[in-house]
């Protein structure tokens, strides 16, 4: 891309932003930032993505990871960006960061076999204690929260419409009895699943260790060691205090770790 085109794009972005700012909308500010960012980047997201992939193929994993993260910071992250970021971190030996990226990709596309395979592979490389969610939550992870929402809402609609039809045509009640029971039970189950998915989505985040660390018994420096964790270990955050997080892997292991030693990932 020539410098002239780049300059035109910047001027266009700034002018557009100023016009929108005249209207006094905060969205204008956001759009201005995005336009400006896009201009500074000088590439479309697809081009930037391809450039990052090129770095990856050249075994410049750290640079590739930085390029993928740049895309994510500019809100141009896609499933493929998070997935490739995980690969780049994994190849550069950053197991914890790789797991965090794979988790984000899995959150967006939970049934992608590539993501699941790489996440599982990365988790298997991690040593030492780690938090493993129970099988129910692992099963719930097969669908996104929105998919669970649509399923539950669809079942609710179907069930209510069948009941409505019976109200209008009581004679149909006998014919629809089986469907009524089926849709009611299905709705209850799907709503239960949606409730669990919501509970999981809004539960405490997961702390992913990015370097080997020592979990301490208290939130102060020099506190006795509770247990050691290694790069890639996933810990459930139970509480927080200042710069410390109270984390656990299971009922037996509980301790404090400094916030700068972990990456916080939302629960999937």
């Amino acid at each position: 891309m020539s410098d002239r085109n780049l300059g035109q794009r910047i001027v266009y972005g700034v002018c557009s932003g100023l016009r929108i700012l005249d209207l006094g909308h905060w969205t204008g500010v956001l759009l201005l930032v995005l336009l400006g960012s896009s201009s500074v980047l000088g590439q479309t997201p697809a081009e930037a993505f391809s450039a990052a992939n090129k770095l990856y193929y050249e075994n410049k994993f750290n640079e590739a990871a930085a390029a993928y993260e740049k895309l994510i910071q500019l809100r141009k992250g896609s499933v493929a960006v998070y997935f490739n970021l995980g690969n780049a971190w994994f190849k550069s030996g950053q197991l914890g960061r790789a797991i965090a990226a794979y988790r984000q990709a899995e959150k967006l596309s939970p049934r992608d076999p590539d993501i699941r395979a790489n996440l599982q592979f990365a988790r298997n490389q991690a040593q030492g204690p780690t938090f493993v969610s129970n099988r129910w939550f692992q099963w719930l992870r097969k669908l996104t929260l929105n998919e669970w929402t649509i399923l539950a809402a669809g079942a609710l609609w179907l069930s209510l419409l069948l009941f409505t039809a019976v109200q209008y045509r009581p004679a149909w009640k006998g014919h629809l009895r089986g469907w009524l029971i089926l849709t009611t039970v299905g709705t209850a189950i799907l709503c239960g699943c949606l409730g669990l998915a919501l509970r999981r989505a809004y539960s405490s985040p997961i702390a992913i260790i990015t370097h080997d660390a020592v979990v301490q018994e208290g939130p102060v420096e020099g506190s006795p060691t509770a247990f050691a964790v290694h790069d890639g270990a996933e810990l459930r955050v139970v509480d927080e205090k200042d710069e410390w997080l109270l984390v656990s892997t299971d009922a037996r292991r509980l301790g404090w770790v400094r916030r700068d030693q972990v990456l916080l990932a939302p629960p999937i």
Binding site: F61, G77, A80, N87, F90, R116, N146, T164, H230
Partner: protein, 616 residues
């Protein structure tokens, strides 16, 4: 002044006269009586381990400060004061005693020197007091075998020759004669163990043992003993103080029970307590120094008997990645002080202080079990191929020699930092579901298509439009329920149902009338008109339509107060119908003109609904 005080005290309360009197004496006595100070002990000869009470008694005076005597070899502790009032032949005297517990530290003759106290500017001095402290001694073997001892204290050591740093269990056994019912106030008053350290005490289960011809109940107390220096070490005499309860010697036994060879059951009711001071024999231990020859480099003072177990993970790491080495030492020894020695072979690794965990479950004394060290080591270069074996040395007292335990060298794959890990078979599954893809040899390659933008934060359950949309089926259901309820109500209300049917009939009938009028079908027109009147009146009067004639005007409508205007309108319509039978109206206009009149009349009849009660 005293008399006035006494009188005042009597006036305060008659029953409390002596209290008031004593109070007055205590207040005013210093100015009345001459002050004296005496010192006394409750016993002048005791056994080492026992205590005596030293009392400094001030009569007729209150000291400004309480002097504390200081005697080498005696520990003297102030315990409090007590007051006394004596009235002898109208002579009243008061005294205050300040008491001290005197605990001898050694046997011998002691003199508590004269004690001087300042009382109101006057110096009062006591006489010196002699105290004889005898050595506590275990009873002789003859005395024990005779069965005359109520309690005996014995010290049991598993061996007499131990090494410095070796930890052994020892047992202090309290033997109680069968006549002892109960004990209380058990207190170890002296536990001389110079050159040794004692561990925690554990009380074990009681047992029975025979000394001479007498069976004793044994209460064993276990300790751990660890010599700190080499040489001959004396342990004991350990002295304890205990109060035993035995049957009273003054109570005569009932011969009634004796003649049947039974114990007097009432013997339990009476008993006396006796304080005993018990002592063990002095046990001599030979503490051996550890050999100075062939001391292994990794020896750091551990004495005991141990086994070593080492595990390492992960074994495929990059430079700078942590490796956890778990070292478990199991066996017998001082686990609390057991430390992991420096590992000189680990110079290529950065090491961190290990975490430790002691597990002595099953051994209350805590000398048998295991101690696990979790040591994090970090490889510093990619040339490392293995973790050198862990080495741990200790002195084995049984073998009387040093022993060195070594684990195996652990193969490692250390790759340069920033390089992709070598493909490995996935490690042990950590509880993931079975349906997950099978373990792979490497990660799946990157994706080449950017795909769609991730829509972060667009959660449907947070969207107002989505939540509002969910109200649609609910509203549909509610409307269906309302309609069904209305239909059911109609079905269950014949009057209402007929009202609706008649309304429909009237509606259709009026259209029919218009058609008949236009077609000039006079007979059919009036037949229909008459039928409509019948239907409406029948519905209003809750009577069959066929039974309605002009006569209902007089029979039913008039009695119910229907307006004359309406009655006349109805009557006119009836009469018109009757006339039409004999003189048919031929004109369509004439027929059509009747329709509005009929409609007006029918509406008026329908409006009678509000006065329904009038029609019944």
């Amino acid at each position: 002044m005293l008399r006035r005080a006494v009188l005042s005290a009597r006036l305060i309360h008659r029953d409390g006269v002596f209290t008031a009197l004593a109070f007055a004496i205590l207040i005013f006595s210093p100015s009345v009586f001459a002050a004296t100070l005496t010192a006394s002990v409750d016993r002048d000869t005791i056994t080492l381990g026992e205590q005596v009470t030293l009392s400094l008694t001030f009569s007729g005076a209150t000291p400004q400060t309480i002097p504390a005597p200081n005697v080498e070899g005696l520990q003297i502790d102030y315990v409090g004061q007590s007051s006394h009032v004596n009235i002898v032949q109208n002579q009243i005297s008061s005294s205050v005693s300040h008491n001290f517990n005197v605990t001898p530290r050694r046997a011998g003759d002691f003199v508590i020197p004269a004690i001087t106290a300042d009382v109101g500017g006057e110096k009062l001095t006591t006489q010196p007091i002699k105290l004889k402290v005898l050595k506590a001694a275990a009873p002789s073997a003859e005395a024990i075998n005779s069965g005359s001892q109520l309690a005996v204290l014995k010290l049991a050591l598993p061996k007499k020759e131990i090494y410095v740093g070796e930890i052994i269990p020892m047992e202090l056994d309290l033997y109680l004669h069968s006549s002892v019912r109960n004990i209380s106030g058990f207190q170890i008053t002296s536990f001389p163990a110079d050159g040794c350290s004692l561990g925690k005490m554990v009380q074990r289960d009681q047992r029975r043992a025979q000394l001479g011809n007498t069976v004793y109940t044994v209460i064993p107390l276990s300790y751990t003993l660890r010599p700190l220096r080499a040489g001959t070490l004396n342990l004991g005499p350990i002295t304890v103080s205990v109060v035993v309860e035995i049957p009273s010697a003054r109570r005569r036994r009932d011969p009634f029970f004796e003649q049947f060879g039974m114990r007097d059951p009432f013997e339990m009711l009476g008993g006396e307590q006796k304080q005993l001071t018990l002592a063990t024999e002095v046990e001599t231990l030979r503490s051996l120094a550890l050999s100075q020859e062939n001391v292994p480099p990794s020896f750091n003072g551990a004495v005991g008997s141990f086994t070593l177990n080492v595990s390492v993970g992960p074994t495929n790491v990059a430079v700078g990645d942590p490796i956890t080495v778990r070292i478990q030492l199991s066996g017998q020894g001082p686990f609390d002080t057991l430390a992991l020695p420096e590992q000189p072979g680990w110079h290529d690794f950065k090491t961190y202080p290990p975490t430790t965990k002691v597990d002595t479950t099953g051994d209350p004394l805590g000398i048998r079990g295991s101690k696990t060290f979790e040591q994090v080591v970090v490889p510093q270069n990619a040339e490392i191929k293995e973790l050198p074996p862990v080495s741990f040395s200790f002195f084995d007292p049984e073998g009387k020699s040093y022993r060195t335990l070594s684990g195996q060298a652990m193969k490692l794959v250390v790759r340069p930092s920033g390089v992709a890990p070598a493909p490995t078979v996935a490690a042990a599954n950590r509880g993931q579901p079975e349906e997950l893809p099978p373990p792979t040899q490497d990660i799946v390659p990157i994706k080449t298509r950017w795909g769609t933008l991730a829509q972060g934060g667009a959660v449907l359950v947070h969207q107002p439009w989505f939540l509002a949309l969910q109200s649609v089926p609910v509203l549909a259901l509610l409307s269906g329920v309302v309609l069904r309820k209305r239909a059911e109500n109609l079905a269950n209300n014949p009057r209402r149902r007929r009202q609706r049917q008649v309304a429909q009939v009237i509606h259709d009938g009026l259209q029919e009338l218009s058609r008949l009028a236009s077609e000039n079908k006079s007979d059919d027109f009036f037949a229909t008109l008459f039928r409509l009147l019948q239907e409406q009146l029948g519905e209003r009067l809750d009577s069959p339509a066929s039974s309605i004639t002009e006569a209902v005007i007089d029979e039913h409508l008039k009695p119910k107060g229907v307006s004359e205007t309406l009655l006349s309108q109805v009557q006119e319509l009836f009469q018109t119908c009757n006339l039409a039978r004999y003189a048919p109206i031929k004109s369509s206009q004439e027929l059509a003109a009747l329709i509005p009149r009929l409609e007006t009349t029918l509406r008026a009849l329908q409006s009678l609904e509000l006065h329904n009660h009038q029609l019944r």
